[in-house]
């Protein structure tokens, strides 16, 4: 069924009895052309673009829990394309363009909201860095605006502590096309659209090994629902990547770290865009239900625990108070954690590997939600054509060996600093 105002209206008249499940909960077939491991945003988007752009429809997405139960359903939903380096910015701007057409493309309301992302700056040096970044964005076709203090004041006259003695707000980098999207709805929208093109979405199916032929090529996977063969296998399991690649004796430039997020009690409309603090790691937006959604740094040590510790909670709360003291008495309602695939240079990897039939999508750090459409698009291209598209050509697995690292922050091979 196509979703439309008419289908909504018709179902309202029929007592909402005409709705069908949005996708089939498929049982695994013995073999597929392509298997994508991981039913997060990236895995489902990959399957969708494989079917839509490349006509490869005999595809399964294998998910160990339910789709969207990983980072796709845990993130703070910020989308933006405000990167600096040539390896990143064209890719993220392509993602932004796909976001802009996503709802029409997949016929699903993903609540893409271009409410603007404002990065605050607090010093001259930071303003210079933002000016450079703003120019890099424009070179790559993204929008950017540099605001002075009055410009920021006009947006948020009462919220921010402009004349803070330690970190006065001097201005900001604004990307108006940035914003948020409803994370679950992105997952569901891609799942429904992929399913419609014939993709099998198999839940409660954990991959725990690989089938290899005599030449060493990957020709399938072992799962909790039995072996499934495939022409090609692509991994999109975010923080769980090393747990699977170790079965192939592959060591990766990846550490898994926990990132927490927080939601406050519901408030009247207070923050209509996304704001990031420039003097500490803190970013905040307000959900349509009224809760402030915010986060900060990763906990900073290898973790698969999916829950974080108190020092980061304290740090995030302190940053919030430094930036917007008026929320000091707002209560924190919930917090949770997700396992990030932190790469050694802070940039993702979308590539084929030295093992025939085995493809890798990982290293998203804590910025992979915004990348969901472009990641799926580029991974699908790479799997279908056995070669990277120009947009992910630099996101290679061997860049660490050859020295072509893409280090936006310039902090070196220290995953907990990216």
């Amino acid at each position: 069924m196509r979703y439309s105002a008419l289908s909504l209206f018709a179902n309202a008249l029929m007592g909402q009895k005409g709705w069908k499940p949005a996708w089939r909960d498929a049982a695994p077939k013995p073999a597929y052309d392509v298997i994508i491991v991981g039913g997060g945003g990236h895995g489902l988007a990959t399957a969708y673009y494989l079917a839509k752009e490349h006509g490869i429809r005999n595809v399964a997405v294998l998910e160990k829990g339910w789709i969207g139960s990983g980072n796709a359903g845990r993130n703070t939903t910020i989308i933006r394309s405000n990167y600096l380096l040539p390896g990143n910015e064209p890719f993220y701007e392509w993602s932004m363009k796909l976001w802009e057409g996503l709802e029409q493309d997949v016929n699903y309301n993903s609540m893409v909201s271009q409410r603007g992302v404002l990065n605050l700056c607090h010093s001259d040096a930071q303003r210079d860095a933002y000016a450079r970044r703003a120019n890099a964005m424009r070179i790559n076709g993204a929008d950017s605006e540099l605001l002075d203090q009055d410009g920021v004041r006009a947006m948020y006259p009462h919220l921010l502590d402009f004349d803070n003695a330690r970190f006065p707000i001097k201005g900001g980098l604004l990307q108006k096309r940035g914003g948020t999207a409803r994370h679950d709805a992105v997952v569901w929208g891609y799942a429904r659209a992929a399913d419609k093109l014939g993709v099998d979405i198999v839940q409660n199916c954990e991959v725990n090994g690989f089938i290899r032929d005599a030449s060493g090529a990957v020709v399938g996977v072992e799962t909790t629902r039995g072996p499934i063969r495939a022409g090609k296998v692509g991994l999109a399991v975010a923080g769980s990547t090393s747990r699977l690649t170790c079965k192939l004796d592959m060591r990766l430039p990846i550490e898994s770290h926990v990132l927490q997020a927080f939601v406050s009690e519901g408030l009247k409309p207070l923050i209509d865009g996304v704001i990031t603090f420039g003097a500490g790691h803190f970013y905040v937006s307000q959900s349509d239900k009224g809760g402030l959604v915010f986060g900060g740094d990763i906990d900073g040590y290898n973790s698969y625990a999916q829950r974080g510790n108190l020092p980061v909670v304290e740090d995030v709360a302190e940053s919030a108070m430094a930036l917007m003291p008026s929320i000091g008495r707002v209560r924190m309602l919930r917090s949770w954690g997700g396992i990030m695939d932190m790469s050694m240079d802070g940039t993702p990897i979308i590539d084929k590997t030295h093992i025939p039939g085995f493809y890798l999508n990982t290293g998203w750090c804590y910025g992979g939600f915004k990348a969901t459409p472009a990641s799926g698009w580029c991974f699908a291209w790479t799997i279908a054509k056995d070669v990277a598209h120009a947009r992910n050509a630099l996101m290679r697995l061997d860049r660490f060996r050859t020295g072509h690292i893409i280090d936006e922050k310039g902090v070196g091979p220290q995953p907990n600093l990216h």
């Binding site: 090393s242 060591r251 990766l252 430039p253 990846i254 550490e255 698969y304 625990a305 510790n309 995953p415």
Partner: protein
Amino acid sequence: MRIPCPYCGLRDSHEFTYLGDATVKRPDPAAPNALDTFSDYVYLRDNPAGAHRDLWYHASGCRSWVVLERDTRNHAIGGATLAREVTP
């Protein structure tokens, strides 16, 4: 999480700075395959879900480097040794 510093006793993890996997070893720079071994040493990690040996620096304490045995799935701590006492 609290870390049992061998010198200071049980201390809040807030006092420590994390470096990473304590098992990677600096290779011999004079070896003919040094390019490969160094890029592995700098960039590649086992990243296990389970037993892990971490390097922590007790910055707000005794300023020693500590090797911590920790389970990355639940942060259960097995033990801690001063890094300089760990035989390479």
